[in-house]
Symmetry: C2
């Protein structure tokens, strides 16, 4: 037998082993999810608090394992920002613990009956929230996702399968051990939280095919990871590609409010998905508003790229290309466009936007309603900064991601968005004619 | 150039043409969906009523086209039931028209605000229902689906792409023409309802890849069609494989109620997904209840397959195999199992059930609650026949399908389930710190 054929056999046998390991994990997750679905609110909350306590108590151990992860890396091609995301500190462990306590303090969505109605034949029909079942999280560097995502999933009664990147595998396993121990101390199966021990990407490929065991996949990471997951998954995927968010300053806007919101939306934290990328300004106030906002943005170090009208008002603004209107800069760069009307602004958003977050600044009642009703992005605002578009700021308590696809959940997702509903019916012996 | 290579080129050119036609349809559907999303309730309802009027007025034309469909068929391998599903009659056209009028009479889900809450910084945050966008329906023989599905989609503000089977293409096109004309008379773009003119299956394959234009795919037909669609789709699919529904007769059940519900759930219409397939009976009442229900079911012509305990009580019951507990008979056949407890019943449902519909017959308060809370099928009932599990009977008004996957919608789906929600925010100039 040739060397290459023997290698092939070895390869396929390893892949078979990986498939078996992943399938076993998924099956045990499904089985555990049934016990977790029936767990009491106090058992779930108790285990979340025990998780927080455990992380603090074992922080030396977690930091040691994180150090081993970092020491094992070939850092030649890694950026400082990437290494920063990988690195755990006592402060970051505190933040994970705080996050788990906050999730424990939220209301339990499971078992909540949304509404009930009575049918002419006397049947009382309602919709009751139930867990989704098993959620798979596929993520990259950040080891804090292990605790954050597990906490939200457990609260909503879901088992979670956590498949982090190879660069943080030791950290993830250390955190996972603590989370699993906390579940067991409240008689919830440890397998309600599973850490995938295999860092080979083929493990992800197998995971994405286990539609009989896993109900939802949430990829968290760069666009490449998200595309890979959504193209290879047979399981529904909740994804978030990017956020090209707009602020539209209407002709009736209060200029001071418009200035504050525009600057805040751009500069308060430019590297995140809910930062403004394009400013739309009504032509009728462009000559009064643009000089103000341009001066202030320049002061904040923002590079400006404008439409023809904008560059006429301020010749130092770089002319924007067609591509600029599609761009998610995630940086101190802003494109500016003067529009003819609110309808023109809505058309621009429909063409170039990503359905993430848009805000109108206006003093006109009818335009506020028109914008709220005709823009179908996941978050639509009147007179507020786009930076409020996240789970915590909207009052969801904790966020597992922001969905830009409209199926199941649209926009920031909290514990409620990790549930489904079943119909419940109270009858008195009714049969169908 | 060889004959075969010329054929290949012709083949691939045709596929390219098909891809272009499908992509153009999807793009025009997406564009029309934006206009439809903003359409007033009265325009949508007016067009639905005009559709109903149009179907009646043009019924001769529809029947003629349907006749051409039927005449063109090679009926050698077609069953009578299949031909019946293909055939339109004046009564069936009346039923389509009635269905559209009923959908017009439903409340408009679009723009409904589910709830609003206030944040500490004064932001008023709410969730508003919005259309999904574009819905693709992939179906087989029944031409009535063309009108039924289009009506529900339009009501929820969604464009619809209807891809029916080749055997009913003329009927579907005739119905589609009438629906489109009705939309135009209310200034809604005709392309909000598109009939795919290509019957080649490759058209479906292309359609399933257009995730940028189509938001949801609903396959309606046999298990083969549904599996093909869900394995090939990049777009979320709402699917319904099968319904193995259970009735559990608890030890505290009123025997008369249990008898009526069991018989109704099995025999009232055995060929549908919400009919009972397995009867679970508590051991403590098996000797009193089983003889009653077996006699009555036999009288109704039901073939019975039972567990060992059941065959001991009635030796004429055929012994059930392991496979029987998984079976969706869709026929006058029933499997019967005696269980030790309510927990045993729940375990049986978890193992063999399909998460469709289950009912408990009981007089015990605590067991009714236990069953409602621990069984997470899409519809869970107390003291009612499983046959009530459909959109009309539950009060949803009209149904586009029954989802057995928990993402987005679970159970019977009406117009509300064809919507998503966006967050809306009323601010007074808030910026983020």
């Amino acid at each position: 037998m040739s060397h290459s054929s023997s290698l092939e056999r070895e390869g396929s046998s390893t892949e078979l082993e990986i498939e078996k390991i992943i399938t076993d994990i998924a099956r045990s997750s499904r089985d555990s999810s049934r016990a977790l679905a029936k767990a009491s609110t106090s058992a779930k909350n108790g285990s979340l608090i025990a998780m927080a306590d455990g992380l603090l108590k074992e922080s030396d151990y977690i930091l040691e394992e994180n150090k081993k992860d970092l020491e094992g890396l070939d850092t030649t091609n890694l950026t400082g920002a990437y290494l920063d995301r990988l690195t755990l500190t006592p402060q970051r462990i505190d933040a994970m613990a705080d996050g788990l306590r906050e999730v424990a303090a939220l209301g339990d969505p499971v078992g909540e009956v949304l509404r009930m109605w009575k049918r002419p034949n006397g049947l009382l029909v309602g919709k009751m929230r139930i867990p989704l079942g098993v959620v798979g999280i596929i993520y990259e560097a950040r080891p804090n996702v292990t605790a954050d995502a597990a906490g939200i999933c457990v609260k909503a009664g879901n088992s979670v399968i956590l498949r982090g990147g190879s660069d943080s595998i030791r950290s993830n396993r250390a955190i996972g051990e603590i989370l699993r121990g906390a579940l067991e101390s409240f008689d919830i199966p440890a397998d309600a939280v599973n850490i995938v021990p295999i860092t080979d990407r083929v493990a992800v490929t197998y995971m994405l095919k286990l539609e009989d065991y896993i109900d939802l996949i949430i990829p968290r990471g760069g666009e490449g990871l998200i595309r890979f997951v959504s193209e290879n998954s047979r399981i529904p995927v909740l994804k978030h590609y990017k956020g090209v968010c707009h602020v539209f300053v209407d002709e009736s806007a209060d200029l001071k409010t418009a200035l504050e919101i525009s600057v805040n939306a751009k500069v308060q934290r430019p590297g995140v998905c809910n930062a403004m990328e394009t400013l739309l300004v009504h032509r009728n106030i462009s000559r009064s508003f643009l000089p103000l906002v341009i001066a202030k943005l320049r002061e904040e170090g923002v590079e400006l790229r404008g439409c023809e009208h904008t560059t006429q008002i301020d010749p130092d603004v770089v002319p924007a290309t067609e591509q600029d209107w599609y761009e998610e800069y995630l940086d101190l760069i802003l494109s500016i466009k003067v529009v003819e009307s609110i309808d023109d602004a809505v058309r621009h958003i429909e063409k170039y936007g990503t359905m993430h977050t848009e805000s109108i600044v206006t003093s006109d009642y009818s335009n506020s309603q028109k914008f709220l009703n005709s823009v179908n992005s996941s978050t639509v605002m009147v007179n507020a900064s786009t930076r409020f578009s996240d789970g915590f700021e909207l009052g969801l308590g904790a966020e597992i991601g922001i969905s830009t696809s409209k199926l199941h959940a649209f926009g920031p997702m909290g514990v409620e968005e990790l549930t489904s509903t079943k119909f419940i019916i109270y009858g008195q012996g009714q049969v169908r004619n």
